[in-house]
Symmetry: C2
Subunit: 252 residues, 2 copies
């Protein structure tokens, strides 16, 4: 049984708390948050605190705080030589204070507080400085049921950046589509099966192979029609730039 | 039973042939293609031809040809006053020759020839000039099992444009992500659950509500880090433009 203490009660912290609490090989010894109010409703199921000096013992301390707070909180911890990990995609492992053993426990997923998440489908990327700590984190991550990967800091940084493209930027494509169809009172719902199919297709085909459409076919007539339809200048600019990117990718 | 004749054997034509053949309320009387070779392997299950003058009778003639060919082929048809429809998102219903009754039968999906498609999940957008023809097409579309929508030409055009955003442009986001992670020998597979979740999330939440990430939070430090990581100038430009678009959408 691996004991953990969660620090932070944002989206990731809250999801991790629930996941570790339910996993068979982990137990949550305590939950820290700067503001006790946020986690007060959990006080009957876990020890809660807003005081770093009251932190108990545990095998792993998980810092799920904002990127900016990682260094300061890790420095403020009132103990040494324990395993302290952060969960941030873009923060270096060396940003953690060196008085403790350091690691990263990065789930590749987008967290929304109220939406339930199935961790058995979320890859966990692990980095440590020492091998024994890697085995602890690997075991902890495996308990959540999803794939576990050893990933170094550079790899984690590009994964975090790439996640912005596949998640935030794709979602913005959906948003722009929403605006476009609403301008003619057409239904965004009609596009939902296509959105699912687009994501499903690359589960077993490369995005390169999966590409279709006027940009890939270099269908200039359709591209011209589309640009004429777009009323928003920013949408026009995005259409042109990504069309160019597709054409470059496919050698047009 | 509604009898159809398919003209064209591209991706849409081939998928529609199989779908109408298997549907309970339709039958395929004939399949025309400019090059008989493409459809020769189907000759034991359907009448095939490469000669417009040999076209039989049917309730509906479905032109699944390239956008550019719609007008010419509809003009070349050797009969009048029959129901002729095209399947193109961006082509006007009036591009069909007026000697026949005209309609549009537009499936909102991206077709790849070899991938099997479940039509029960594909919305069909229908447009006709006459009401009785609408009922024929509605019945024909319903037989495929998916949602059927009456959609006018302007709505269909914006749907086709929006489909490029959610399908081709999202797929290019996946492609860029692929390039980014490969630059550090990280695994694109680690992003696949996030890609599915991003698409799944907007099935019951607006893209506006579903947005997360550094652009929405206006996390300038992370945005700066990401831009510094990007080596490809075009990727940098895309990152900046879509980040700006998200910031504008969310009032930053």
């Amino acid at each position: 049984m691996i004991s953990v203490i969660i620090l932070g009660a944002g989206n990731i912290g809250t999801h991790l708390y629930k996941a570790f609490k339910n996993a068979e090989n982990s137990t949550v010894n305590q939950w820290y948050n700067r503001s006790i109010k946020t986690i007060n409703k959990y006080k009957n199921e876990v020890d809660i605190t807003d005081d770093l000096s009251q932190l108990k013992e545990a095998d792993v301390y998980i810092l799920s705080v904002s990127d900016e707070a990682v260094a300061a909180i890790s420095k403020a911890l009132p103990f040494e030589n324990r395993l302290v990990v952060h969960t941030a995609g873009s923060i270096n492992i060396h940003d953690l204070d060196r008085k403790n053993r350091r690691g990263v426990f990065y789930p590749v997923q987008s967290f929304t507080k109220d939406a339930d998440l199935d961790f058995s489908n979320i890859p966990i990327c692990i980095e440590t400085l020492e091998k024994p700590d890697y085995h602890i984190l690997k075991s902890l991550a495996s308990g959540l049921g999803g794939p576990v990967k050893k990933v170094n800091s550079n790899q984690r940084k590009v994964l975090h950046l790439a996640a912005v493209f596949v998640n935030n930027f794709s979602n913005q494509m959906y948003r722009i589509a929403h605006e476009i169809v609403e301008s003619e009172a057409a239904e965004f719902d009609l596009l939902k099966p296509l959105i699912m199919e687009t994501a499903r297709k690359i589960q077993d085909m490369s995005p390169y192979m999966a590409q279709t459409g006027p940009a890939k076919r270099n269908n200039l007539k359709t591209i011209k029609k589309h640009l004429a339809l777009l009323e928003n200048d920013q949408h026009k600019e995005i259409y042109k730039l990504i069309t160019k990117s597709i054409q470059d990718t496919h050698g047009r």
